[in-house]
Amino acid sequence: MIAMQIPGDTWAHRLPAGLKLVAVAVASILLFQVSSFWTLLPCLAAVISLYASLGRQGLAQLKLLRGLSVLLACLLALHWLSGTLLEGFAIILRLIIMILAANFVSVTTRMDDMMAAVQPLFRPLEWLGISSRKPALGVTLVLRFTPYMLQVFSMLQEAYRARTGSSGSWRLLAPFAIQSLRMSDHVAEALKARGGSDGLTR
């Protein structure tokens, strides 16, 4: 339903998620030391070739930069105004490289695999007597609630349009909140009726 992964099974998909996460962390630390324009350019080329290795769908992911272009252009303009244009170029290049590298992990890793890779980080919760599976249950609940809430909102919006002719109003927010809050109460009861989240396997 809600996902940003490229479907398929490329070399990057097959790498373990944990390894990819560590690689991004190391890359961000290394890149932090680099401020020369001429070192950053090959890094950018390397990151883009990672995307290129996934084929056409991989290169299509670079459209991510279009969304950022306004923000980056504003930042560059601010640097230009304060007379640090060259430095600004290097900083923005570094931002682009890091955003692309981190995004590469996200587009080649399924959310389940990512969850499994970070699951050990929640183990300390068990010292507090909380099941370390609870964050995963929370994630599942959110991913199920979100489309339901959009559906509730669109129903309210249609009813509002039928009554008034205009497409929507902030006035819908309160009934929307109340209706979906009721739903969450039902879910809480249903969860309890089934033994609660303590029944989760560790």
């Binding site: 601010l78 996200s106 970070v118 609630f145």
Partner: protein, 184 residues
């Protein structure tokens, strides 16, 4: 944490996600001003859930974004957003929700409308920008003043969201008082 609390936390995390997925037409505040409704969800989480659960709701949402769900306004998501220049604002969100929830509790004697407006303004604007502006300055190599000027464009939209938060909180406190967890 009780199951009911977990469901409530998940509910507000989903609300933040849903507000980011709503088409911009659905939020007809001011045409032309770039408003993401998501900080509205952050303010509401703090105001409605109280400090701890409010902050947890925002953290859960950010965690799902980091796992790779494109739930930030404009369909952004994944690890890339945590390296973007605006990451400071995302870091400020859970703290903002915490502060909003705390103020909600501390001003318990005021009526809901006033109290939630103060909570949303301080938690959702002052605290969030207190993280966002230094973050922007640091990531983009700008001075604090430049970063502040660049961020100021969004303040009118945020003020509108404070008003909406207060109105929604007031309505819920009357329509479904049991859901008003920050004061129970």
């Amino acid at each position: 944490m009780a199951d009911r609390s977990l469901v409530h936390v998940a509910f507000y995390a989903a609300l933040i996600a849903a507000l980011g997925l709503l088409p911009p037409v659905a939020i007809p505040f001011l045409s032309g001003v770039p408003i993401t409704a998501q900080t509205l969800g952050v303010m509401l989480a703090g105001v409605m859930l109280g400090p701890v659960r409010g902050a947890l709701a925002v953290l859960l949402f950010l965690f799902i974004v980091a796992l790779g769900a494109p739930l930030l306004a404009g369909g952004r998501g994944g690890l890339g957003v945590f390296f973007s220049p605006s990451v400071g604002f995302l870091v400020g969100w859970p703290v903002g929700a915490f502060v909003a929830g705390w103020i909600m509790r501390a001003t318990g004697r005021l009526n809901v409308l006033t109290s939630s407006a103060i909570a949303a303004a301080i938690g959702g604007i002052v605290v969030v920008y207190a993280f966002g502006i230094p973050g922007l300055a640091y990531k983009a190599g700008l001075s604090l003043a430049e970063a502040a000027v660049g961020s100021a464009v969004f303040i009118p939209g945020d003020l509108l969201k404070v008003a909406v938060t207060a109105l929604v909180a007031e309505t819920i406190s009357r329509g479904l008082p049991a859901a008003f967890l920050s004061r129970t």
